[in-house]
């Protein structure tokens, strides 16, 4: 696979004294669904706007399909941008919104055919004569998407594509978007602040913070093996434990227990990540506490979430989150608040955070 389809090279951008992007490098493959994830102010939208041509980078280049597009105007770039607000033209109906970008170069008949095809693809044929004001949020999103796709772009940029939709519609649209993208094989780059959205849509994603890319990998890799403390905390629920070398093993003051790591460490002191679903929770009667990779604690809080239960367990100076899947059909299966329990995990589940 050609992973140099979209090359972002040394991109930096400042607004006044405010450094928004610093030396961004990314390679994105053809037909990839790529996510830029970060909280507000991380520079993700600025990066997307640079790709769209709405901002000029201070340094660096953007190369799309072998062509340097850094200095091209938006109207000369073979890509399209879907705005968070959708930016549909209120003075035009759905048909003319969809046809807006192809009116120049197509005959009336070709326009008709193209609009019908794209409307069919997105199942919005019945809306073609509507005004934008008369559309629901989900319908507007489809029109915005259709207006871009009708141009058959090499690259589609999406700014928070699902943020304006309500929760139920969002998960449905997520699925549709990935299906559509796989079907059309257009490269998608999207921006989101929602980690679930990023995980479910992306083939690969980049975590951004303060104008830097912290990590770039598949969602699975980033969730399971985050490199930095920030990423570990940002994606999913994380138990972060500070440990230091003590004799042969590692010791945590906060928990008062020893950790066995199957890996040598550079530093004598480090943070480790233990995801809440990797921890097994058992009644204290069933087991004896071993001195390694287990602890006993007291259940402080619990929230029953249907398919699983989330416990907050107090051990010495720390509160550890544990997600326990509800295997049992008996609703009394859950541990009550205040119960003493034993938690265990595999050594492999412990991830060392180097940064």
């Amino acid at each position: 696979m050609d992973n140099n389809f979209l090359v972002i090279e040394n991109i930096s951008k400042s607004f006044g004294d405010n450094k928004v992007l610093e030396n961004i490098n990314l390679n994105i493959s053809k037909s990839e669904f790529f996510g830029l994830l970060g909280s507000s102010g991380s520079g993700k939208t600025t990066l997307l706007r640079i790709l769209g041509g709405f901002e000029k980078p201070d340094t660096g280049r953007v190369i799309l399909d072998g062509i340097d597009i850094t200095n091209l105007e938006p109207f000369n770039r073979p890509l399209n941008y879907m705005f968070q607000s959708y930016a549909l033209f209120p003075h035009l109906n759905v048909f003319n919104n969809l046809a807006f970008g192809i009116k120049e170069n197509f005959t009336q008949k070709e326009i008709e055919i193209n609009v019908r095809n794209i409307a069919e693809l997105l199942s919005i044929e019945h809306l073609l004569n509507r005004r934008i004001k008369q559309l629901s949020g989900g319908e507007q999103q489809r029109v915005a998407l259709g207006r871009c796709l009708i141009k058959k772009p090499k690259l589609l940029l999406l700014d928070e594509p699902l943020a304006a939709l309500d929760k139920k519609l969002r998960s449905k649209t997520q699925l549709e978007l990935t299906t559509l993208q796989k079907k059309l094989k257009i490269t998608f780059v999207f921006v989101t602040h929602d980690q679930e959205e990023a995980m479910s849509l992306s083939d690969r994603m980049a975590i951004m913070k303060n104008g830097l890319i912290l990590e770039c990998s598949s969602p699975e890799e980033i969730y399971e093996n985050p490199k930095s403390l920030y990423t570990a905390n940002f994606i999913g629920i994380a138990n972060i434990i500070e440990i230091y070398k003590k004799d042969e093993n590692f010791y945590s003051d906060d928990l008062g227990i020893n950790f066995k790591l199957n890996k040598e460490l550079k530093n004598t002191k480090t943070n480790i990540l233990l995801r809440p679903e990797k921890i097994k929770i058992q009644s204290i009667n069933n087991l004896k506490t071993s001195s390694f990779n287990s602890f006993s604690g007291e259940i402080l809080e619990k929230s029953y979430l249907g398919s699983f239960t989330r416990y907050e367990i107090k051990i010495k100076n720390m509160i550890i989150s544990v997600l326990d899947q509800n295997f049992n059909s008996n609703s009394n299966y859950n541990f009550p608040k205040g119960e003493k329990v034993i938690c265990t995990w595999e050594s492999e589940s412990i991830k060392v955070l180097e940064d």
Binding site: F83, F89, K151
Partner: protein, 295 residues
């Protein structure tokens, strides 16, 4: 009960105002316009006579008189043309300014808005007079042009229709900019970016997106300039020459010089009808249309 009255006051006060200061004066003007003129004070006869029993004493001769003399119609046409030209130039200058103000950052925007409004702080007469000083034969503009060697002798800039247009565009510009700004302020700049993204260059984007979506603001600003300019009296009086006669001037002369109140009233009433009817019609059409595109 008291509250109800209070509410009613708020609902009806604009109507009250309209009746008191628009419809009643209009009715009085209409009444005078259909009375028979005579020498005396007031210079017209009552429309109801009671001396030999009740008699209605009206005439449409004043209307016949003003509509049969090109002097009156011509001046009205002159004023309409002046208003059209002035509105056009106000729009030409005002639109880019309003757009720039509406799209600049908040701090700059407030400064610019104050700059637009500042001329209102000094007297209207003084501002027009200032143009007299700028445009006169030994005025600043001629002086600059002379010193730059562009002209060898002073140009006659004052006392013609061009001076009138300059004066009007200058004075009425804020009335164009403010409503335009008020509308463009709500303009979603993403629409411009979306248009460019979809392949339209700047010029095409202007005509396909910015202009059609600015129509409500353009209409509001243009009406605010056009209507008062038709009746404008002071600026043509101070900056204009004898090359063109305007409606306001004729009206004034008819009232105060010729003391022909019925004729002047007929002129005023016709002017209002000719202006207001198309505008009302246009407004109805336009409000239907703008509902569809409201941003």
């Amino acid at each position: 009960m008291k509250n109800k009255l209070f509410e009613k006051y708020f609902v009806f006060s604009p109507y009250f105002w309209l009746v008191l200061f628009f419809f009643i004066p209009l009715a009085i003007i209409f009444k005078i316009s259909i009375s028979v003129s005579e020498w005396g004070m007031p210079p017209y006869q009552d429309i109801f006579l009671f001396d030999n029993g009740f008699k209605i004493n009206t005439t449409f001769e004043n209307y016949v008189y003003i509509f049969s003399d090109y002097y009156y119609i011509g001046s009205f046409v002159n004023s309409l043309i002046l208003a059209l030209i002035s509105t056009f130039f106000s729009l030409l200058i005002g639109f880019p300014l309003a757009f720039y103000i509406a799209t600049s950052n908040i701090r700059l925007r407030n400064i610019l808005l104050v700059l637009v409004v500042i001329p209102f702080w000094s007297s209207f007469l003084l501002r027009v007079y200032a143009w007299k000083i700028i445009l006169q034969n030994n005025g600043i503009l001629n002086l600059i042009l002379l010193n730059l060697g562009i002209i060898s002798e002073p140009l006659q800039l004052l006392y013609n229709q061009y001076a009138v247009i300059i004066g009007i565009v200058y004075t009425y510009l804020p009335l164009m900019i403010l409503p335009l700004y008020g509308y463009l302020n709500k303009f979603d700049l993403n629409l411009i970016e979306a248009s460019k993204d979809l392949g339209l260059n700047r010029i095409k984007t202007f005509f396909k997106v910015i202009l059609p979506l600015s129509v409500p603001g353009i209409v509001a600003g243009s009406l605010l300039v056009f209507i008062p300019v038709v009746g404008e009296f002071i600026i043509p009086e101070m900056l204009g020459g004898s090359d063109r006669l305007y409606y306001g001037k004729i009206l004034w002369e008819e009232f105060f010089v010729n003391r022909n109140w019925p004729g002047a009233s007929a002129l005023a009433f016709s002017g209002i009808i000719i202006l207001v009817l198309p505008i009302v019609f246009f407004q109805i059409l336009y409000s239907r249309w703008s509902q569809k595109i409201e941003i």
